[in-house]
Amino acid sequence: MVTYLLRRLGAGVLLLAIVTLVTFLIFYVVPRMAGQTVQQLATMYVGKAPTEEAIQATIDRLNLDQPIALQFWEFIKGIFVGATYNFGGREVVCSAPCFGYSFQNYTEVFPEIVARLPVTFSMAIGAGVIWLVGGVSVGVISAIKKGSVFDRVSMGLALAGVSLPVFFTGLLSLAFLVHSWELFDTPRYTPFFEDPVAWATALFLPWITLAFLHAAQYARQTRAGMLETMGEDYIRTARAKGLPEWKVILKHGLRPTLTPIVTIFGLDLGLVLGGAVLTETVFSLNGIGRYAVQAIISQDLPVILGVTLFGAFFVVVANLIVDLLYAWVDPRVRVAG
């Protein structure tokens, strides 16, 4: 088990290192290959009245004219020991872990991501619980009542959920549930520890919107898995032993079906934690996704790089947790490890 864990951990760290390198190359080398000069790169950081002196000062400050390997080394060094940027006589310290410094917003990237984490985390967790519990429950009932009205309606809804994008369902809910019928207040994030009720109320619509998209996939996957499992011989044996039906379904039917569900849940949750771009934008929630969108629009490269790395980190960690859960869900993994 320990070897298995270490192996997965090592693979995760390696993956993060590769993602870091590739992302860095995309943002700092590709523009140069596409013909952008060092001056043009620097112009993006010198505001609306760029003088030649200010452009040169920016090139020096950001080492933009240095070899790319040195620039990458400086970036990696910043993550572990921090970095210092010199503005004339004034120094700006980007403390470790320094994921970059936004020269458009004049802020360190890491604290900005951390400040937005509660919003994204709250949204991901709430929506995750709803889509997992909702999707799996609907899938189980649909499988048991195959061909019933419930099955047909829920699978129809599931198809709609998969097909309809967040920018449609989200705006629909805002347009009708909030603005026209006034059933909900406009979603505005309140920290959980400040007011748990306001926290849940504000996030309810984003949760449902995000969960509607994901739950559909889980319902369909669970239904398919359950239908396959419930036809197995050991289910017949379990029933023959006289086990109550709920035990047969939950313990013997559902458990093997959960293995692929856990896999996709880990990936989905990791992706949402890395920023639910559309949901956060639609509901004007100030999470990591919207931070990324704004950075992309204003071409704030250090922020894009920082958010990408953070997103990758969440996906890797979520995968690691999934691997551990495998060992619990499927004993064969433990044995193999």
Partner: protein
Amino acid sequence: MSKSSLGLAALGVSSVLLLSACGGGGGSDSGASGSFDQGTTEVVNASEEQGGTLRYAISANIESTDPGNTYYGYVWNFSRYYARTLLTYSAEPGKTTETVPDMAAEMPKVSDDGKTYTVKLRDGITFEDGSEVTSEDIKYGIARSNYGDDALPNGPRYFKELLADSDDYEGVNANPSDPLAGFDGIETPDDTTLVFHLKKAFADFPYVLVQPQTAPVPADADKGQQYQEHVVSSGPYKFEGDWSPGNGLTLVRNEEWDPDSDPVRPALPDKITVEEGVDQNEIDQRLVNGELDVDLGGTGLGPAKKGEVLTDEEAKANADNPENGSLRYVAVNTVVEPLDNEACRQAVMYAADHNSLQRAWGGAAGGEIPNDVIPPAIAGHDPKLDLYPSEGDKGDVEKAKAKLEECGQEDGFSTNLGVRSDRPTEVAAAEALQASLDRVGIKVDIKQYPSDTFTNTQAGSPDFVHENELGLNIYGWIPDWPTGYGFLSYIAHGDNIKKAGNSNISELDDEEINEMLTDAVATEDASEQERLYQEVDRRIMETGAILPIVFEKSVLYRPESLTNVRFSAGYAMYDYMPLGTTNT
């Protein structure tokens, strides 16, 4: 990333469709509080009622809260809540382009040669910690935003261009023990007097003193660009906590502010909040529903809500449709061949169908068709000027062809047109122009660029323009101050052609224009100034370097909750200082 971009584009389209579907002025506060366009010329919902929370929202992040590090009109307007300036624009309807004293006790005294301006400060102006604001604090604020390689990057540099005896000064960071040593363009003989020494007479200098760079900054609180986190207040409101971009801003009352020292701000609300990064359609919907008081950006309703409000009589009564002082135009480059030939440029001027350009800009509510460059609110505008007349403003194809013959391009020519891809109105105007020029054989290839880099690295970079043969670029101009010089110098004076961030995109360098602009701003005689600006206006049109599209109009919405509303032509949006709210 491409998936996100596609998604966001679709998001924009969907939001327009959906949020317009639920509107119809059916919100809780849809009753009218005035009549259509009343706020352009009068005060609507006049009130002296104090209290409540005034709610602002903006679709982007606030550019910067630092008064020394901003070039957006909405920040210049808004920052006055916490950063007082030497002068400001009058809040009196009909006089909103005139300057009036703010921290200054009276209007500056000008020396006979027009090169020295003396400003006396009022008594009782303090920072939020109760310490007195001195002339040195104001001088420091100007120094940090204008001088040195590390000067704050976002704002203009008018003081550096205009002040004498300061060319060798390297900024506040060069000598930390005496940050103002060598900055001799401003004298501070005592704590309440500033004496500005100019290189040459500059009659528009009072407008420069309106800029937020004249707000006082205590040297020991300056953290460079990070000062934006907590600007030390000299106005009626101060920051509650710190600000960082995207996280919203809350202002609360500054108990140290003395109302007797401030004739400009009634300071009605108890609290002011700003929500950042709210989708524009969502902002518009909340305004109409009464869930929000002001769109901080001040550019008006988006296309979907604009159409809806203007067709609903009840909602329309809560809207104003002022000219926002902006000229939208096509910069016709004077260097890229064959447009380097004046007759070829004039062919473009004749061939353009102004009617279709106006329709692309949203029709009459989007703006008036101009025949010159200087907008109506600015002295120098000539309503009689019409150098390229045509029936129904549809362009004169015959005269265009004659001009093409004159410039040796009788079969027409090909050129490229640069436009900001994320601005649908500009793209629509580009397509309209493409169609109208095609009538005379001028083939236009539209090249789209992101708006964030357009001014600095594409249209604003002469090298890029030449390399990519961008003979035409669609651009807009709002003056830094509402005078002929403020409007024209950056887009038409040859001395202002820059390697990057160039606003004179036409690269117009006409000796006659340069000379007249320089002369006009040196004279204090208003009628002579107006005559010179009219001449410049005519000459620019003659050169064919600027093809005007519209004098743009905004549709601003004032919810029932908003009191003391009036349009400021100086800031080209509602004047934020007098506003109050009934929202508690």
